[in-house]
């Protein structure tokens, strides 16, 4: 089994806020991230798929196809958007890096499941070069 990872970048804004909490509690837990005017990041999305290389092409998946899937399912929805205000899954859930990794997995999984052979293994999202979250499909 070979793992193959493709990377893409997107830029988006967000803020952290729990509507069930007071402003003081939000500011205490989320600090600067609770600023309702939002702030932004250059994110990196890493998608890892696993499978056997095809006997004819030597590919686990066609990388151009994987790039198109990432573009269509994730980047077109997240890039240059305000995650809280423009992305449906974050109208309630807080767009933390953890939740972004889970949400990107959910967006990618159906398209990748339709592909012959390769399985989605891991989604990792870097919020900065020093901070990342990853999701492997665990319940």
């Amino acid at each position: 089994m070979i793992e193959l990872t493709r990377r893409a970048t997107f830029s988006a804004s967000h803020y952290y806020w729990n509507d069930d909490w007071s402003a003081e509690q939000n500011e205490s837990v989320f600090g600067r991230c609770a600023n309702r005017n939002g702030h932004g990041h250059n994110y990196t999305l890493e998608v890892t798929v696993a499978g056997e290389p095809d006997a004819v092409t030597g590919f686990v998946v066609d990388l151009k196809w994987l790039k198109d899937v990432m573009e269509r399912e994730v980047l077109s929805a997240y890039d240059h958007r305000h995650l809280n205000l423009e992305v449906p899954e974050f109208s309630k859930a807080i767009p933390t890096t953890e939740n972004l990794a889970i949400a990107a997995w959910k967006r990618l999984q159906p398209a990748l499941a339709a592909a012959r052979g390769a399985q989605l293994r891991k989604v990792r999202i870097y919020e900065t070069p020093e901070i990342f979250a990853e999701y492997r499909g665990e319940a």
Partner: protein, 136 residues
């Protein structure tokens, strides 16, 4: 729902790869430039990955400030701008990055009770890195 959260920390330290179990000649053969008696140093990157439930209230696996404080206190303050060979953890063990990675894992294991320590990765340079997980 379970996810992982990772964070990268930087520290600079010196070391010398040398073991008293080998002759000087065998040390030079095994460790090459890294056996230089005066030591040398690296800018290490320590990557810590923890896993756990994503809290529905915060959307987070762990409070990053808690992770930062713990890693700063137990790892960065201990090793940054130090000579690894002089740390008690390396009194009997060569401070290769394999052993350094395992030492960091040991220092952090149990220090973050709310989450699972999934892996520690130490990058010695841009071109080499080592990973250690709970399997050892």
């Amino acid at each position: 729902m379970k996810a992982g959260f990772g964070r990268r920390y930087m520290l600079s330290a010196s070391h010398r790869l040398h073991t008293d179990a080998l002759s000087d000649e065998a040390n030079r053969a095994a460790y090459g430039k890294c056996n230089n008696p005066h030591g040398h140093g690296h800018n290490y990157v320590v990557e810590v990955l923890v896993g756990g439930e994503v809290s529905p209230a915060t959307g987070m696996v762990i409070d990053m400030a808690v992770l930062d404080r713990t890693v700063q206190r137990l790892v960065v303050e201990r090793f940054d701008h130090r000579n690894l060979n002089l740390d008690p953890l390396f009194a009997e063990r060569v401070p290769t990055t394999e052993n350094f990675c395992r030492a960091v894992f040991g220092l952090l294991r149990g220090a973050l009770p709310a989450v699972e320590l999934q892996h520690v990765r130490v990058e010695e340079t841009e071109n080499n890195f080592f990973e250690c997980d709970s399997a050892g």
